[in-house]
């Protein structure tokens, strides 16, 4: 009986967090034997969809089947047993086991793993030796053999990804689901990781990847599915999807027709005043030994709007988190009005008049909206009244949200509350991490108009933003990061019409794979 053409079929899959709908996919099919990539801007619900399919997160509604059998009711380990093995963005390896043991863990139906057999060593000694040899050969393929006897905890970020992939292969899965396999992997390892994925596919394992690096997606994917705001907005070959206007808009924001385009404000003579915030050659990261930022420098002058762009994993968010002491700054310095503030505690920065709105979990869920705003004015309660009027005037919807629990708000409402909270004390410097994520187009307009407005009051704003196009319209200057380094910089106007920005996001790139230097930027229309 010819096997089903589709290995994985899902219909009507919904997942909600309170009022916020993270995933709402009507139909999703994955062809057997293919490499399918799942792309989309941050917060599009890719990871949530991934977790629901693999059984690690219960769905609010919907059914999906694997290799013909319905699995939506099965727990995660039973789904994995059927051959659907997934990896994790932050690698779920066992640090206190050796590398070899980690790989051997992957094998299916190992004789010694049932308790009855475990008690009688002869029952599994021989099989264990064969398993070890098999594991060693997998390690050879991944060039980790020399580390087989060391504890997995000593591996670097990239090596951990390789180990997790090797372990997944030991289970000989029918479908391998990879959650951002390339995130945090240094370039030298990326290509070998890529080859392994392709090699696995050749040996008959279908692969579903969540990945941001468009260049990789185009190189290896047979089929690409793009998600935005929980829905699938485009499907097809890599070329079709990357040129699909809906996808480009999801990534870069709507390309405004000429008329709508506001006169670029960027043309004001760039005042050479001292920078209010200067980041110099910063190296930062979270896990020991894994540097996300590998030497990035940014300057922000008073009453200036600076945008920081680049594909996901380029280190945009890490830059803001490093400034605010949430990520570890390992080298380089940060100056505010000339004084060094590297590594200073967050609350001290707020006292110096620097506001910050993180990308995720940027509201206090159990507290009401009003209480969230009061937290914004924590340092000087006497300015509470003035601050409240200021933000409600900026964001009228705040009035009716007053007593609601922040946790029950929709994505857009949360974003507004987070922004308002950071503005309560009218900070001189504002760091915004993807302020437009999850907002309706109308709301996005409002946010960008508002950012342009406060700039006039002398506030310096540093924005990390996916919605590159719309953001560039109001930016004086923009920095484009790629793999933790400054790729190139330019005024808002230059970058708005620069092909490279689009290519960087959507991976359509000319021959050389290294990021283009500022000097050879093409000026094609």
């Amino acid at each position: 009986m010819a096997r089903e053409p589709n290995l994985l079929e899902a219909s009507g899959v919904v997942r909600q967090f309170g009022a916020f709908t993270a995933v709402n996919v009507d139909r999703f099919d994955m062809v057997r034997g293919s490499i399918t990539s799942l792309i989309g801007p941050n917060g599009a619900g890719k990871s949530t969809f991934f977790n629901v399919l693999s059984g690690f997160m219960p769905a609010t509604a919907g059914t999906w089947s694997f290799d013909g059998a319905e699995i939506s009711h099965l727990p995660a380990d039973r789904i994995a047993k059927r051959g659907l093995v997934r990896t994790f963005q932050h690698t779920a390896i066992a640090p206190r086991l050796t590398v070899l043991e980690n790989v051997m863990l992957g094998a299916k139906d190992t004789p010694g793993e049932s308790f009855r057999a475990a008690v009688w060593p002869p029952a599994w000694k021989r099989a264990e030796r064969r398993l070890a040899e098999q594991a060693m050969s997998v390690l050879d393929r991944f060039k980790l053999t020399h580390l087989h006897d060391t504890q997995a905890s000593v591996l670097s970020g990239g090596q951990r990804k390789l180990l997790e992939l090797a372990r997944a292969l030991m289970a000989e899965p029918q479908l391998l689901m990879l959650d951002e396999p390339m995130a945090g992997v240094n370039p030298s390892l990326r290509d070998s990781l890529l080859e392994h994925i392709v090699d696995v596919n050749k040996r008959g394992t279908s692969v579903l990847i969540i990945e941001h690096d468009m260049e990789l997606v185009q190189r290896i994917s047979d089929h690409v599915v793009c998600m935005a705001e929980g829905r699938i907005i485009a499907e097809g070959s890599a070329a079709q999807v990357s040129s699909n206007p809906a996808v480009v808009e999801a990534y870069l924001g709507a390309r405004r027709s000429e008329a709508q385009e506001a006169p670029p404000t960027g043309q004001r003579s760039v005042t050479r005043a001292d920078p209010v915030l200067a980041v110099d050659d910063m190296v930062a990261g979270y896990l020991p030994g894994v540097d996300v930022l590998r030497g990035c420098s940014v300057e922000l002058r008073p009453a200036e709007i600076i945008g920081v762009f680049g594909p996901n994993g380029a280190g945009k968010s890490t830059l803001l988190k490093a400034i605010f002491g949430i990520a570890q700054t390992r080298r380089g310095s940060v100056r505010h009005n000339g004084d060094a503030i590297t590594g200073i505690k967050g609350h001290a920065l707020v006292a110096r008049g620097i506001g910050y709105v993180p990308q995720l979990e940027n509201v206090f869920a159990p507290l009401t909206v009003l209480e969230n705003l009061q937290m914004g004015a924590f340092l000087s309660p006497e300015r509470w009244e003035d601050g409240l009027n200021y933000v409600t005037e900026l964001f009228p919807p705040l009035d009716r949200l007053g007593s609601k629990r922040a946790g029950d708000l929709s994505g857009g409402e949360r974003q507004i509350v987070a922004l308002a909270r950071a503005l309560m004390l009218r900070p001189a410097v504002l760091l915004l991490d993807e302020p437009s994520a999850g907002l309706s187009p109308l709301m996005q307009e409002q946010v960008f108009d508002f950012i342009a407005a406060i700039r006039v009051q002398g506030v310096a704003v540093l924005i990390v933003e996916q919605n590159a196009r719309r953001c560039l319209e109001i930016c004086d200057r923009g920095y484009v990061l790629d793999q933790g380094l400054n790729a190139y910089t330019g005024t808002g106007e230059e970058l708005l019409h620069d092909e490279r920005v689009e290519h960087l996001y959507l991976g359509v790139r000319n021959a050389s794979s290294s990021p283009p230097r500022a000097e050879n930027c093409t000026s094609s229309g």
């Binding site: 050796t98 006897d149 060391t150 504890q151």
Partner: protein, 414 residues
């Protein structure tokens, strides 16, 4: 499991080796050989743990007894030195402490403070062939234990003391009583014995409520008894009785309108734990216990020996334990437990009655058999070390909170 961590086997092995070497060399001398003229007596009493409030009173009694015995010339011309250990109300710790006392050459063990700890040690005591005597264990379970004479107790078994409460209630003409007992060997045994005796005499026991000693509040139990409107209430417990009596008096089961009968002699300050502002609060509460005013008013001597003692509960009984053991050694002219253990019951039921160690020793000197009657009163221990008779005194608390003796009651067992 090849863990490549920095485990230093060398350090572990050298430490263990060093210890063995130190012990191996030159340790052939017999352990704890008592030098001539010094007789070691071990005490295993509850200095910590749930029964911690009785430890100091019992230890002081043993110290007082040792002083009296040494003043009277000691035992077979060697002086008693005490070796103390804490049983902490924990079987493991008590067992380890008992090992220490035995290794230090204790010829007799005074303790323990609770029936459950004694039960957990008896097997070891019998196998180690050492004599143990407790003034606080009242659990009936101990009578049935085949202790081959190595265990004796001067505290009255619940079976003996329980009916005395029934009699006190009957004498006051009560026909419907309730009993509130602590949920341990002491409380349960006494409650059941009292209830049986009262029913046998034709009375009606409205309720026997057993409470959990670790309980923090007793209001609902007292309320249940109050609602049954008894003529009299028997309360069997330790120092939580302060809370219980307060709760009873507040709920109208006061000492005047409803008879209150409780165990042990309440210390002169006990009323403070019921109502620190009113000394007359316990006026009329009746108790039954070993006589305190036997000649030298034993409680004052204990308090003189160690001022600031919270209670003198079980002090008379523990005092008699040591004296009886000493007399048994003197009578059997040997400090070897296997020999003197059989004399322990005999020295309490001989012909000549004597009330202190000095007189008893001189009586023994003239070849007569003696019946020692100490502050606990006559005990006449039987073969399994239980007192068979009890000369009890009933007391009533006066207006100043001091327990005045009323009359004596002779309780007998076969």
């Amino acid at each position: 499991m090849h863990n490549s961590t920095r485990f230093q086997p060398r350090a572990a092995v050298t430490a263990a080796l060093g210890l063995c070497l130190a012990l191996g060399t030159g340790l052939s001398t017999a352990v704890g050989q008592a030098s001539a003229g010094e007789l070691k007596i071990g005490t295993l009493l509850p200095m910590t743990g749930p029964a911690a409030q009785f430890g100091p009173s019992m230890l002081t009694a043993v110290e007082l007894a040792a002083k009296d015995i040494n003043d009277a010339g000691g035992i077979l011309d060697s002086k008693i030195t005490l070796v103390n250990a804490d049983e902490a109300g924990d079987a493991n710790i008590a067992s380890q402490a008992l090992d220490r006392l035995l290794s230090q050459g204790a010829r007799a063990i005074m303790g323990t403070g609770s029936t459950s700890v004694t039960l957990s040690l008896l097997d070891k005591v019998v196998r180690a062939r050492v004599s143990m005597c407790s003034g606080a264990n009242t659990g009936p379970q101990l009578s049935a234990y085949p202790n081959q004479g190595y265990f004796a107790r001067t505290s009255y078994s619940a079976v003996l003391l329980g009916p005395v409460f029934a009699q006190m209630a009957i004498e006051d003409g009560h026909s419907k009583i309730a009993i509130l007992g602590r949920g341990d060997a002491f409380g349960k045994g006494m409650s059941e014995a009292a209830a049986e005796a009262f029913k046998a005499a034709g009375g009606e026991v409205l309720a026997t409520v057993i409470y959990d000693p670790a309980q923090t509040s007793f209001d609902s139990e007292v309320q249940r008894i109050a609602s049954l409107k008894p003529d009299g209430v028997i309360v069997i417990g330790y120092d939580e009785r302060g809370k219980i009596l307060r709760s009873m008096i507040e709920r109208g089961i006061g000492p005047r309108n409803v008879g209150i009968y409780t165990t042990g002699v309440l210390s002169p300050e006990f009323w403070k734990s019921v109502n620190p502002n009113d000394a007359t609060v316990l006026d009329g509460v009746k108790q039954a216990a070993s006589p305190l005013t036997k000649g030298n008013d034993f409680a004052q001597r204990i308090l003189a020996q160690k001022p600031g003692l919270g209670t003198t509960q079980f002090a008379p009984e523990q005092y008699d334990c040591l004296v009886i053991t000493a007399l048994a050694m003197t009578a059997s002219k040997s400090t070897d437990p296997t020999v003197y253990k059989d004399h322990i019951p005999l020295v309490t039921k001989g012909d000549v009655e004597c009330t202190n160690y000095r007189d008893c020793v001189s009586a023994l000197g003239t070849g007569k058999t003696i019946a020692y009657v100490g502050p606990t009163g006559p005990t006449r221990l039987n073969a399994s070390g239980d007192p068979t008779t009890a000369l009890l005194e009933t007391y009533a608390v006066d207006a100043k909170g001091v327990s005045q003796p009323v009359h004596q009651i002779q309780a007998k067992m076969p």
